[in-house]
């Protein structure tokens, strides 16, 4: 095991930074982090005011998301968890497209079939459709990586998951298979301290997660997940290895979920207040801000500009999404198969007929408990 990779000191200095990201890219990374926060903030308000049903806050883990995304190309294949949308924003996904998903409206790429935060993009990046079961995307990332290699492309797959994900069947199957196949895949374990209410200490008896890489025949790396530069470097190195045909890497990023698991979760019931305070001092956004300030790339004026831009963009996105009508009834039946089978056509016709005779179904007041 190597030492935990860390580059940005508490005062913002980063003596080992080698210019892997140029000034423009550094500021852009910071902007993405602010955009994630702005998106989170407005989603929290929308959820609390009953306009959307659910959201997943990202506060605290932005450096891991954006650091990883900044190390990869948009042609690489992202297999994200539900707490990873900063990766999509970083590669140019439009907040309004994400907001359509939050509202589950007719313009949502999933046509309102999925819960909020279950994004899917094929462009401007390959951001695989998110599913709720934990760990299922890990073997898929291995298969996609195998396919890239088999077709002579040098794209890599990134599978991102939390500490809870390491206990899933998919984790074992994927790491084992990736090791045997030497697949060009990066496993990014975001150890954010909690899997809903279970602390990381209850998830494994091993000395952390990176050490598990050894048993699968791949390098295990630990990195300060609140340090964007360190995450960028760790993922860049893993991607370089993968593209060179040297196989997979497991990266464990130490970070912290500063909010609840979701908008339906009250973390004050199980997260010790002093633990939250300790991590608040390590806020990844402030850390990056100090680094930029040290390099003369940040001042209050820039902060105000960026914050205002992000807030305006997400507010406009929310406004547009809210004004977009909901999906129509036929979207229940489409996209099950490429071609609508007869039995689904009949069921659809019956649903339409009933709606014509008896009116629409009552939407009810369902509230999501998790």
């Amino acid at each position: 095991m190597t030492e935990t990779l860390k580059m940005i000191e508490a005062d913002g200095s980063a003596p080992s930074f080698n210019g892997a990201l140029d000034d423009k890219a550094l500021v852009y990374c910071y902007r993405t982090m602010l955009m994630v926060r702005a998106f989170d903030d407005i989603c929290m308000k929308l959820q609390r005011s009953g306009r959307i049903g659910f959201s997943i806050p990202n506060k605290g883990v932005e450096a891991t998301q954006v650091g990883a995304a900044s190390a990869l190309r948009s042609t690489d294949f992202f297999f994200p968890s539900y707490r990873d949308f900063g990766m999509a924003l970083h590669h140019g996904a439009e907040p309004v497209e994400m907001m359509h998903n939050m509202f589950g409206n007719a313009s949502d790429s999933a046509r309102g079939r999925q819960m909020p935060v279950h994004f899917s993009f094929t462009k401007p990046l390959r951001f695989f459709s998110i599913s709720s079961p934990i760990g299922t995307h890990l073997p898929q990332a291995v298969g996609a990586a195998f396919a890239s290699q088999a077709q002579g492309k040098d794209d890599v797959s990134l599978a991102s998951f939390g500490d809870g994900g390491t206990s899933s069947t998919g984790f074992h199957s994927a790491l084992n298979m990736a090791g045997v196949w030497k697949a060009p895949v990066i496993f990014l374990c975001q150890n954010n301290g909690w899997a809903i209410s279970l602390p990381s200490s209850g998830q494994t008896a091993s000395d952390g997660y990176a050490i598990k890489a050894k048993a699968y025949g791949m390098p295990g790396v630990t990195v300060d997940g609140n340090d964007l530069l360190a995450v960028n470097r760790a993922v860049s190195e893993a991607a370089e290895r993968a593209r060179a045909g040297e196989g997979p890497t497991l990266i464990e990023a130490f970070t912290y979920r500063m909010g609840g698991h979701s908008t339906s979760d009250d973390p004050t019931k199980y997260v010790p207040a002093e633990e939250l305070e300790k991590w608040a001092k390590k806020d990844p956004v402030l850390r990056m801000q100090r680094f930029l300030a040290q390099r003369g790339l940040w001042d209050e004026a820039l902060e105000e500009t960026l914050q205002a831009e992000c807030a305006a963009e997400v507010a406009a996105a929310a406004k547009e999404a809210q004004a977009t009508p909901g999906p129509t009834l036929e979207t229940i039946f489409s996209d099950v198969y490429e071609t609508l089978p007869n039995h689904l056509r009949r069921q659809g016709e019956q649903a339409f007929d009933l709606a014509a005779r008896k009116g629409d179904a009552d939407a009810g007041g369902g509230a999501f408990p998790l």
Binding site: V142, A145, F146, T169, D335
Partner: protein, 324 residues
């Protein structure tokens, strides 16, 4: 035209598609140089190399999960689960991932892939090498479930499954692998999914069946004919999506229906056929639908011949509905 066993027809289909389309990639446990435990993939690694046909670690969810990843990234995976009894670790990948991917992404991502697996009894395989799990999967929107019963259909349906834009679970009746021979054309041809096959024409009783039960039902029908009962035998061959019109037409034709499968009765596929007929053709029925199925028990070893529907039991049911 070549006379092949059902197993050889499967092997022929794989060779044919792999020659046609370099995206087709075959993998699973022992499917490489050994050619699979039943030899369904024999010769593929030799002809197409280890990149196109290879062994995997013993990990069913890993196999199917990797297949989903390959399918969304340009390959056409045809993976094998060694016995259908071992598919359950992959249930999540099949039901929650492959089958729902098109729907949940609004068609942005799709999983054109085939999962081949031998199913059913008749080889003294006991609880864990004999099961017929088709009903678990036929309950899954987004998935296609196909079961051939002849060498001709095995090749044509498998090629159609590989060319299909949606994920297909291809269940192979292992009891028929070597026991059944038939004419199989050379080269590529397809049998349309979601069509039934009339295995025998008759006007008195209609029997619905699939897979290894088809020859059993054909034998029972031949014996029934000696007693003056003409039986219409329908091989369903695609359980999902089912050709419901064809089923209803065949049921209305005689008004007397028997449904036969190896799997347990309760919530088995026969229940769906019975309900379909009850809901849509009750006015044509002259007798209650009768089911001949495995018992609602795990699959026994020594007494498997009592568990599996045989000519005796099917004939008894045919006579029962004919004389109702």
């Amino acid at each position: 035209m070549a006379i092949l066993t059902l197993l050889q027809a499967v092997n022929d289909a794989l060779h044919t598609k792999m020659r046609d389309d370099e995206r087709v990639t075959v993998f699973g446990e022992d499917v490489g140089p050994k050619g699979g435990v039943f030899l369904a993939t024999e010769g593929l690694t030799r002809e197409f190399g280890e990149r196109r046909c290879f062994d995997t670690p013993l990990s069913e969810d890993g196999i199917v999960g990797a297949a989903v990843g390959m399918a969304v990234n340009g390959l056409l995976p045809v993976c094998e689960i060694q016995f259908q009894d071992f598919i359950f670790p992959a249930f999540d990948q099949i039901v929650s991932e492959a089958a729902k991917l098109r729907y949940r992404s609004g068609g942005q991502y799709t999983a054109p892939m085939v999962i081949r697996t031998p199913y059913g009894g008749g080889i003294r395989g006991g609880l864990y090498h004999s099961q017929s799990g088709e009903a678990y999967f036929a309950h899954t929107p987004g998935l296609k479930v196909v079961i051939p019963s002849t060498p001709y259909d095995a090749k044509g349906l498998l090629i159609a499954a590989i060319e299909d834009p949606d994920p297909v679970l291809f269940l192979e009746p292992k009891a028929l692998y070597r026991s059944l021979k038939g004419e199989v054309p050379e080269g590529s041809y397809t049998v349309d999914l979601s069509t039934v096959r009339t295995a025998r024409e008759g006007s008195d009783v209609t029997v619905f069946c699939y897979g290894a039960m088809v020859p059993v039902c054909e034998k029972a029908a031949a014996t029934a004919a000696e007693g003056g009962i003409e039986t219409h035998v329908v091989d369903l061959r695609t359980l999902l999506p089912l050709d419901e019109e064809a089923v209803l037409d065949a049921a209305k034709r005689t008004g007397r229906v028997v449904v036969v499968h190896e799997a347990p009765r309760f919530c088995g596929y026969g229940a769906e056929i019975s309900a379909l007929i009850a809901e849509n053709a009750i006015e044509y029925m002259e007798a209650p639908v009768r089911r001949v199925t495995g018992f609602d028990t795990p699959f026994p070893n020594t007494l498997e011949h009592h568990y599996m529907p045989d000519e005796r039991r099917v004939l008894d049911a045919i006579e029962g509905v004919a004389s109702f």
